[in-house]
Amino acid sequence: MNAIVALIEVVSVIAIPGLVLFVVAYGAFKRVKIYEAFVEGAKEGFNVGVKIIPYLVAMLVAIGIFRAGGAMELLSVAISPITSLIGMPAETLPMALMRPLSGSGALGVMSEIIKVHGADSLIGRMVSVMMGSGETTFYVIAVYFGSVAVSKTRHAVPAGLVADLVSVVTSVWLANLIFG
């Protein structure tokens, strides 16, 4: 098992320098003016960064209010009778609720749960699967649609939320099946 951890470490260390090296070397091989091409592409970076600011402020402030006010805890208590029906321990609810809202928040929740229950407990494993299979849906929506000034998001949000729900339910089911 240590071999797998080591392999993952190697892959995550090599991936970015490897990709940069490969693209630049391949470009040079194909006689692309790599420096000029890079600068031309990189120019757009600033505009995109600035363009997403209003969307990101709107999204993060609303999520920030929701989190700081303690609404997450209240919601966890309110829906725990329903979620216990699918074999979901109440302790993992904050994780499922936080995952689509905030990446750093979810990482914090996961670390806290693992500290309390242990990484190899059923609850610890379940939140690990949730963290690994989920995504910060609202951040992605704000940034991606914001970069092209789209505010009418049509069916992207409901479909994204269904995908999040499926990911949580499957994580709970698989964790119970494999580790329970």
Binding site: I8, G70, D120, R125, I141, V166, L174
Partner: protein, 214 residues
């Protein structure tokens, strides 16, 4: 839908904070009368607004880097090569996008970066893809079907190696930190498949179709 979610987050957030502060007794010697509301103001409102800008500014350098690398890959023909290889899948997922459109290459780069867990690179590629998809958009400010499908694939996050999770588990003394990879990939595959089915089905609803008409 985003309008309702936004309203709900703000109203419920402030409502719960207010309810908490009004019902709990601050006790003698409490330094502030409204601790939760103050937290909402400082952390929730002011703090988040600042964080948003810090995040966006921080993204500029990384955006510039990957957009530069992407341009090199584009001119070297790498993106077109990738797009051609995956054409049977991409044309089915995005029937409204021409098979050789630059958006296809950018979306493939974004999804590959996501799968490898390269979050730094996946966002710039994803934003490039959105920009390209927007050139096919007939109604500015409204999401196209292709954008919605792309977003759902992104939010259901097909990640092969959740490196951060494994690192935390290893640091917390797990005997087997990688055992969650299998179930995580399965869960993510289920959510992507269902997400794509749902996004395609919803696109056919009259209420969403109507929004595309000028």
């Amino acid at each position: 839908m985003l309008n309702y979610i936004w309203l709900a987050l703000i109203v419920i957030g402030i409502g719960v904070a207010l309810g908490h502060d009004l019902t709990s007794d601050p006790g003698s010697g409490a330094s502030e009368r409204y601790p939760v509301l103050n937290k909402v103001t400082n952390e929730g409102i002011i703090g988040s607004a600042k964080t948003a800008v810090t995040l966006a500014i921080g993204l500029i350098g990384i955006m510039a880097l990957w957009l530069g690398i992407m341009k090199v890959a584009e001119q070297a023909g790498l993106i077109a090569l990738l797009a051609r290889a995956l054409r049977p899948i991409t044309t089915r997922l995005f029937p409204d996008v021409p098979a050789d459109h630059p958006a296809m290459g950018a979306m493939i780069m974004n999804i590959s970066a996501n799968m490898l867990g390269l979050q730094n690179a996946s966002t710039p590629f994803g934003l490039k893809a959105m920009e390209e998809l927007n050139t096919l958009n007939k109604k500015a400010g409204t999401a196209t079907n292709a954008m919605c499908t792309f977003l759902v694939i992104n939010t259901s996050n097909v990640q092969l190696i959740p490196a951060t999770v494994i690192a935390i588990r290893a640091a917390s003394g797990s005997a087997n930190p990688t055992e969650i990879i299998g179930p995580a990939i399965l869960a993510t595959a289920c959510s992507t498949i269902i997400g794509v089915i749902v996004v395609k089905a919803l696109a056919k609803l009259p209420m969403y179709k109507k929004q595309l008409e000028a």
